[in-house]
Structure formats: C-alpha cells, structure tokens
Symmetry: C2
Subunit: 132 residues, 2 copies
DNA sequence: CTTGATCCTGTAGTAACTACAGAAGATATA
DNA sequence: TATATCTTCTGTAGTTACTACAGGATCAAG
C-alpha cells in the first residue's frame, strides 16, 4: 500500500486530480492509514492508469468512468464499449478536418502579412473571411 | 439599430454570449432604447463577427480581444498579429498530430472488438496500451 | 530538534460559456 | 380589448475537468 504521491507518480494522475476523482465518486474511497493518509493498492493504481489512458485518448470523464465501470463489472458489454469508441473516433476525425481547414486559413493569412507593415493586411482579411 | 436577437442572428454569436462579452468588457456597452433594451449598430455586429471568426479559428478569447483591439486601433501592429497567428498555427499543428495518433490507436482498438462478445478484448487492450 | 517534504481538509479560481428564474415589455391573433 | 406568446432584462448559478491555494498536521532525515 502506497501513499498518494507515489500513486500519482505510478499512475501519471496528479495528486489533486486523484482527490478530485475520489470526491466525484469516479474512483472508490481508498484505505486510510492510522494517520488518516490515503493508502493505495496496486489495483487502485490500475484504475487510475485506465482513467488516465481514457482521458489521454480524449474520452470525456463520464465515458472514462463508464469504461472503468465496464472493466470492473466482469460482464463487460462489448457493444457499448465499441459504440463509445466509434462515436469518439468520428468526433476525432471531424476535429482533425476542422483543424486542417483552420491551419490552411491561418497560414494563408499569416503569409500575406509582411512584418513591419503599419496597417496589417492580415487583420483586414480576417475581417472579411467567410469560408472558415 | 437592431435588438440583441437580431444581432445574434446576424453575427452568429449567441445572445447570452453577447451579454457575456459585454460583462467581460470584450465589446463596448451598446446603446439602449427607452425601454432599456440593447441596440446594436452595424459596426457592433461587425465586432461580434470578427470575434466569432477568431474564436472559430481557435484563438483563445484573450487573443481574439487583442486582435479586435488591434483592428480598432488603426495603428495595427502587424508584428504582434503575425506572432499570434504563428504561435497559434504551431499549436494547431501539434493538436492535429496528437489527434491523428489518437485516431490510429482508437480504430485499432475498435477493430479488435467483435460486437457481441461478452468479455470485451478492447477493454483488455485499453488496460495495457502504453503507446498512446 | 529542526528543516523540509508530504499529506490533510476545504474553498475558490480557471475558460468560455450556458442555463435558468422571475419580471417586464412587445407583438400577434381572436 | 384581451390573451397568448416572444423577446428582452438582471442576476445568479451551473458546466467540464481540473488546478491552486490556505492553514494546519505529520513524517523522515540529519
């Protein structure tokens, strides 16, 4: 059983975030030592690591929690996992598209901007762009 | 001079958001009718549209405000505009990369998940992934 | 025994909105 | 004219997912 700092190091989840997950009921309340400090087991750390991975993959915390619950439940309903993942993939793809268009628009704007100009043509363009 | 609902329609900025921008000092306080309702001019709407564009391009509100101020100021300092845009482009590019890796990881996970399975292999994988 | 690291609880702040509640005025229809 | 439905007003609180204190207790090392 390890303290919260070590659990944070091993899981990659910040100390304050671990306590926040506990407050929100995302993870169960951990054991406590006589001195009232939180004590984490290997499986507690495992839970935190799974949460971290889901969050890094961009799942909202609510989905991450659902995934965690499924993974605890034993009778994991594969369909809902797959559905969640696929909805999320679609999401990610449209975000990529959006950002690509954005990148194009921005670099075009920036290219037209000669450093040193007093009246900035980039702002002028910005005022007119319709096709973002 | 138009009411806030019409200004919202013409600018694409939500009514509550317009009032929020006003509270935060992002846009100047508009004129008021005798009945105390806000009245917007064409240039008020123009300001809102510029803000909308900046926000759609992903600039944080603080940058959007700076851009707006520059565009009002007449003596627009082109350099700071260009710098802002370029910092933002770098940002956008790294976000795209991140999302692409993410998309790969997710679709690999999802592909390994046969709908109907009781014990979901995707969750098993999720528990092990290191290379996000 | 003192220093510094770690931990505790509880509260408040962050970004950028969004969503009410409750009241007043405006517009359209019967 | 009465009624009903919109739109707007102010002010406050909620959202997401943390992050940052403040003020105090405890622990480990020298």
């Amino acid at each position: 059983m390890i303290a919260i700092g070590e659990a944070s190091r091993q899981s990659g989840v910040g100390i304050e975030t671990i306590r926040y997950y506990e407050r929100e009921g995302i993870v169960p309340k951990p054991a406590r030592a006589q001195n009232n400090r939180r004590l984490y087991s290997a499986s507690d750390v495992g839970r935190l690591r799974l949460l971290k991975k889901c969050r890094d993959l961009g799942f909202p915390l609510s989905d991450a929690k659902a995934l965690l619950d499924l993974s605890e439940g034993g009778d994991e309903d594969c369909r809902s996992v797959k559905e969640m993942a696929e909805a999320h993939i679609a999401n990610v793809r449209s975000k990529i598209d959006e950002l690509k268009r954005l990148e194009g628009a921005l670099s075009e704007l920036s290219a037209n901007c000669e450093t040193g100009n007093v009246s900035c043509p980039m702002l002028a363009r910005l005022r007119m762009v319709e096709d973002i």
